[in-house]
């Protein structure tokens, strides 16, 4: 049974068809890497799934429910989380406060009125340990290094604990060791969380991917294991036509 299904999904901005008749189906607990040259519509696809952009055609079905018309906060409540390309932590808030915002299982105003303390126990302690930010609990997020900021954002997604998580270039700006560690986290999330990862770092993709989907010009170009896709002549041509800088 599909956890997430995109059916003939499309969006155009003015004359540009950013995504055009895209079909995609993900099983629960699957990790899918989304590849493609610049401008292929990868980030836009994530925008369409999380509700940042509304489609002009097609449908998004999540957990057997048509969520095409839902607003972004409603989709988040359905269990869809998103990591953006640029780090989007709250810079004026401390690490602890950022994680408390991310712990959004009860997002109503009334339930938020009753919460006065962030308990750094259980899940939050685990997550902090995992991303090595335990010592920075009361540091303003704006004062963290770039790498730590990336980790904080991943930690926030772990706190949010969405069943479907969309990652847009999660390892951008990370060192090799950090990238490797991120791969470990992603592999640990497999099975319990469905994930879509947009990534250019092929080394990272090899570490985590089972199935990859290649997009070009807003449409699906190829789908399969990494080896299959790399040998696909259409994929080679798409990358070569775009300068072949990403593969």
């Amino acid at each position: 049974m599909a956890h997430l299904e995109l059916k003939e999904l499309g969006v155009h901005f003015g004359g540009l068809r950013a995504v055009d008749g895209l079909n995609l189906s993900l099983k629960f607990g699957e990790l899918r890497c989304l590849l493609g040259p610049n401008g292929a519509g990868k980030s836009t696809t994530l925008d369409l799934i999380c509700g940042k952009t509304l489609p002009t055609a097609g449908r998004v079905v999540f957990d057997d429910r048509d969520i095409t018309g839902l607003k972004e906060y409603q989709r988040a409540r359905c269990g869809i989380g998103r990591k953006f390309q640029t780090p989007a932590v709250f810079r004026d808030l401390t690490v602890c406060e950022n994680l408390e915002v991310a712990r959004s299982q009860h997002p109503g105003v009334l339930s938020a009125l009753g919460v006065f303390r962030s308990r750094v126990r259980g899940r939050m302690a685990e997550v902090l340990e995992l991303v090595e930010l335990t010592g920075e609990l009361h540091t303003r997020a704006g004062n963290l290094s770039h790498g730590q900021t990336q980790w904080l954002e991943i930690a926030m997604l772990l706190m949010q604990d969405s069943r479907l998580i969309l990652f847009d270039e999660p390892t951008a700006g990370m060192t090799i060791q950090e990238t490797h560690k991120t791969a470990g986290i992603f592999n640990a999330l497999k099975g319990s969380h469905t994930m879509i990862v947009v990534e250019h770092d092929m080394g990272f993709v090899r570490e985590i991917a089972e199935t990859v989907t290649v997009m070009d010009m807003g449409t699906l170009l190829a789908e399969g294991s990494i080896a299959d896709v790399e040998n696909d002549p259409a994929v080679r041509e798409a990358y070569l036509a775009n300068g072949g800088d990403d593969a």
Binding site: K52, E72, Y73, F84, R91, L93, E97, V101, S104, V115
Partner: protein, 378 residues
């Protein structure tokens, strides 16, 4: 979070001590002098209400005086009815002059004190709720919120001035009866009355501090920084914004009711643009990021106004304007920001001092220089 909480508590305790002990003692518990201060406290309260929406949620409400004025008029209507009981039909005097025959329906409920007290906070909240729902659902932010609230303020004031037969028009509502609350007659020139106003201010401030310390306050700060990111965590941003906007309006309405009790009349100038902008200035001078500081800002600026406007009748407004410009240019977080920076710097210097004295000591186990350093710091 905990350190900030302690900071808040200390600030609040000092504020309470100032309002409850220092001021009355300084004025030797003189009712007439305290009446002036009760007025400053009511104004401090509305500045505090603005800090709640402006400082914490980034909603610059230039129409804060509208909700303040609505609260003021509601209280004044009740007191006016009390003073008009002996008139034919219980009709307020100004209605007789403008040929109104019977008491309008919307005046009738204000015979009741309970209705008055409830309406004084709930009606401003309802007005803010309607406007807020439209604004925040439409994702209107920043300067546009300021423009809309300012326009609303002007419109509401115009209604109160135009419908003279119902509101007293330009003259406002004067000749009011004193408020009788559970058998206690509020004499605005008594020490007890001052404590009543101070108690209201402290209760409202405590409630708002609690609100900002709860997760709601946290989400509001997050919204102020990046509303889109907050949405992707599943929070309904506009309900948070609307709620804080309503609570701010409630406090403003409450302050308006107190203000009428202090001054014993209601005037459409309470809803004037100059007054509304003055609230913003008090808030900015005190520091919009702290509720207590904003309240103090309102109180201090008004004390200065009281002192200086005696000396320079016209020049005072100029002084206020220059102060505002200087604050915006050099102290974007107001006096609170300056105070906070000094406190942090002192704290750091103290720590560095400890460390250096610790290092300067001759060799020894780690614990020894540390303890010596502590003594040096004292």
């Amino acid at each position: 979070m905990n350190q900030n909480f302690r900071f808040d508590c200390v600030g609040y305790a000092l504020f309470a001590a100032l309002v409850l002990l220092a001021v009355p003692w300084y004025l030797s518990f003189d009712g007439f002098e305290l009446n002036t201060f009760a007025r400053y406290l009511a104004l401090g309260m509305v500045a505090m209400a603005l800090a709640l929406s402006w400082g914490y949620a980034g909603i610059l409400n230039l129409g804060q005086a509208a909700t303040f004025g609505i609260g003021a008029y509601i209280m004044a209507m009740h007191l006016k009815l009390g003073a008009s009981a002996a008139n034919p039909g219980g009709l307020p005097d100004f209605m007789g002059w403008t040929n109104v025959e019977t008491l309008p329906w919307f005046w009738v409920p204000f015979h009741s004190l309970t209705v008055t007290l409830l309406a004084g906070v709930l009606l401003p909240a309802a007005v803010a709720g309607v406007i807020g729902t439209f604004m925040f659902r439409g994702r209107i932010t920043g300067v546009f919120v300021a423009i809309i609230t300012l326009a609303l303020l002007v419109a509401i004031q115009l209604v109160f001035v135009e419908y003279q037969m119902y509101t007293g028009g330009q003259n406002g509502l004067t000749g009011l009866a004193p408020l009788v609350l559970a058998g206690w007659t509020a004499d605005p020139y008594s020490t007890a009355f001052y404590y009543f106003v101070a108690g209201c201010l402290l209760v409202a401030t405590a409630a708002c501090v609690a609100l900002t310390r709860s997760k709601v306050g946290l989400i509001l700060r997050a919204i102020k920084e990046n509303p889109d990111r907050v949405r992707f965590f599943g929070y309904h941003v506009s309900s948070f914004e609307t709620v804080v906007f309503c609570i701010s309006a409630m406090i403003a309405g409450w302050a308006g009711m107190l203000y009428v009790l202090v001054l014993e009349f209601a005037s459409p100038t309470y809803m004037g643009v100059p007054f509304s902008l003055a609230i913003v200035i008090w808030c900015a001078v005190g520091g919009r990021n702290s509720l207590v500081a904003a309240a103090l800002g309102g109180i201090v600026v008004n004390i200065l106004e009281g002192r200086l406007s005696d000396l320079f009748v016209e020049g005072w407004t100029l002084f206020l304007g220059v102060t505002f410009i200087l604050v915006v240019l050099f102290m974007p977080d107001g006096l609170f920001g300056v105070f906070r920076r000094i406190a942090t710097r002192l704290h750091e210097r103290l720590r560095r001092h400890r460390n250096s004295t610790g290092k300067a000591l001759p060799t020894g186990a780690g614990a020894v220089p540390a303890r010596a350093g502590e003594q040096g710091g004292q």
